[in-house]
């Protein structure tokens, strides 16, 4: 059974360690779509994402169900600092990764790395390429991770709470960048977060996870306005509201 490029089909996924942690989850991602996974800690959302990527931690395994991904899959993570080698300049790291994916000379890889830095809107790429991870800000590091993910020319991008540790202004920029990349490259996004507001601002559809189960799935507007499950409703209600911001110069 072949799956379209850029689509993802997860059927009856079970993940177990000593006990079963994810109890039969179904997910469907259409090409070019952005699907958000919302849940609290321990809901199994991160494990599900890692299972799709094949990156489950030691001691855990997929104990049932299937994952079918169409095309290449790449992933970005919550804490960029722990995913970047502190002893390697980010440009060098990205260059090596480009070579690993596409071969070619070191110079060609370097040029490609620079292009990727421009794609992720990193200012002054020539300078930043020569920096070490600790010399970059949180937002810059996350863009570097994104560049690394894009080096593989993926069709599907998995995002594991990539903006949780970022300042709200930086978060807004990264989310905008993700939306732009999605539009420009036709990427499909699977975005995990505990923050329903973030997911709702980026994604077309939302899945709600609780205790290893997908409790509700639906279009974002439906989930937010007409949740059918009590847990979903509670999550929506727990989002603290902010009054509308008046326009500049308004009363």
């Amino acid at each position: 059974m072949s799956v379209d490029v850029g689509s993802l089909a997860v059927t009856g996924l079970r993940i177990s360690g000593e006990t079963e942690l994810v109890h039969g989850v179904d997910l469907a991602l259409a090409p070019g779509e952005a699907l958000g996974i919302v849940g609290e800690s321990g809901s199994g959302k991160t494990l599900t994402l890692r299972a799709v990527m094949g990156l489950l931690p030691r001691g855990l395994r997929v104990s049932g169900g299937t994952v079918e991904a169409g095309g290449r899959v790449a992933m970005i993570f919550q804490d960029p600092l722990s995913y970047l080698d502190p002893m390697t300049r980010v440009g060098t790291l990205l260059g090596e990764i480009c070579r690993a994916h596409h071969g070619g000379s070191v110079a060609a890889a370097r040029a490609r790395a620079r292009e990727l830095f421009v794609d992720v809107r990193l200012p002054d790429p020539d300078t930043l390429l020569r920096r070490y991870p600790h010399q970059l800000s949180g937002g810059q590091r996350q863009r570097v991770l994104l560049a690394i993910a894009l080096a593989a020319q993926p069709d599907i991008l998995l995002c594991d709470e990539p903006t949780t540790a970022l300042d709200v202004t930086v978060q807004a920029e990264v989310l905008a960048l993700l939306a732009e990349l999605r539009a420009r490259r036709g990427l499909s996004l699977l975005f995990v977060s505990h923050d329903l507001a973030v997911v709702a601002s980026l994604c077309d559809r939302v899945v709600v996870f609780r205790d290893g189960l997908a409790v509700e799935t639906g279009r974002t507007a439906d989930i937010v306005n007409r949740p059918t499950q009590a847990y979903t409703k509670a999550l929506v209600d727990a989002v603290l509201p902010l009054p509308a911001l008046a326009e500049v110069g308004g009363e």
């Binding site: 709200v168 505990h194 507001a197 727990a238 989002v239």
Partner: protein
């Protein structure tokens, strides 16, 4: 009658750089003042300066009009300002029971009477934060993040402080638990007439809890305003940028 916490032109330096500069703020009793800042704004440094862990380079911190020095505060001065920290998994001593910690604090300050009286008082304190008396005989590892945070609040209240500094108290907690803890802080601030400084990077949390909002950018206060005006009509461009960046759920109008 306490006049609360007052910061007058406070500055903190690391070496020759001022990490906090010219911060003046008032936190009256019974009110919750919010301090908003992103990473690098200096908000945690300010919290530490208020509790005296970090020396001031300039300015003064006053409680009820009396200036507090850093580093050599008396027991009474330390007791008057209590801190609730961000990480609930590092804020409780893993080797001691909750009951021991509360009992010791009460005993050292002469509160609660004899041993039986202190135990009763400890149970009352736990009751204030919605936990049962059995908690007293348990160790921190037996509790979740939300429960530990409530225990940390009970510990802060045990010494009957005048000022509570809450440094991102709900940032590490799940959304459902967050609401409980926030409601608790509001209720306690009012009931015990605590002057509360609520530090957070999360504007929606600040909106839910605070009467006044102060915005910290690069170690300086760029805006101080009542909550009602701030969220709809922020004056400073940075405040506006922060508010515009917050992802909001747009609900359909009924």
């Amino acid at each position: 009658m306490s006049s609360g916490l007052e910061l007058v032109d406070v500055a903190v330096a690391y070496g020759s750089t001022r990490v906090i500069d010219g911060v003046s703020l008032q936190v009256p009793p019974g009110r919750i003042v919010g301090l908003v800042g992103e990473s690098g704004s200096g908000k945690t440094t300010l919290a530490r300066a208020i509790v005296g862990s970090v020396p001031l380079a300039a300015g003064s911190i006053r409680l009820d009009g009396v200036e507090l020095r850093s580093g050599h505060r008396s027991r009474e001065e330390r007791r008057a300002i209590q801190l609730v920290q961000q990480d609930p998994f590092a804020s409780l001593n893993p080797a001691l029971t909750i009951g021991f910690v509360l009992d010791e604090l009460l005993r050292v300050h002469g509160l609660g009477g004899d041993r039986a009286g202190r135990r009763t008082r400890s149970a009352e304190l736990l009751g204030l934060v919605g936990l049962e008396a059995e908690v007293l005989d348990r160790y921190p590892r037996q509790f979740s993040g939300g429960q530990r945070q409530r225990i940390a609040i009970a510990r802060a209240l045990a010494v009957e402080p005048a000022v509570l500094v809450a440094d991102e108290p709900t940032s590490s907690l799940d959304v459902s638990v967050q609401k409980t803890v926030l409601e608790l802080l509001c209720e306690l601030a009012a009931r015990m007439n605590l002057a509360t400084l609520f530090i957070s990077h999360d504007l929606s949390v600040i909106h839910a809890v605070c009467d006044h909002v102060a915005v910290l950018q690069g170690g300086r206060l760029v805006e101080v305003a009542p909550s009602g005006r701030f969220f709809t009509h922020p004056e400073h461009p940075y405040s506006r940028a922060l508010l515009e960046a917050v992802p909001r759920i747009v609900k359909e109008s009924k």
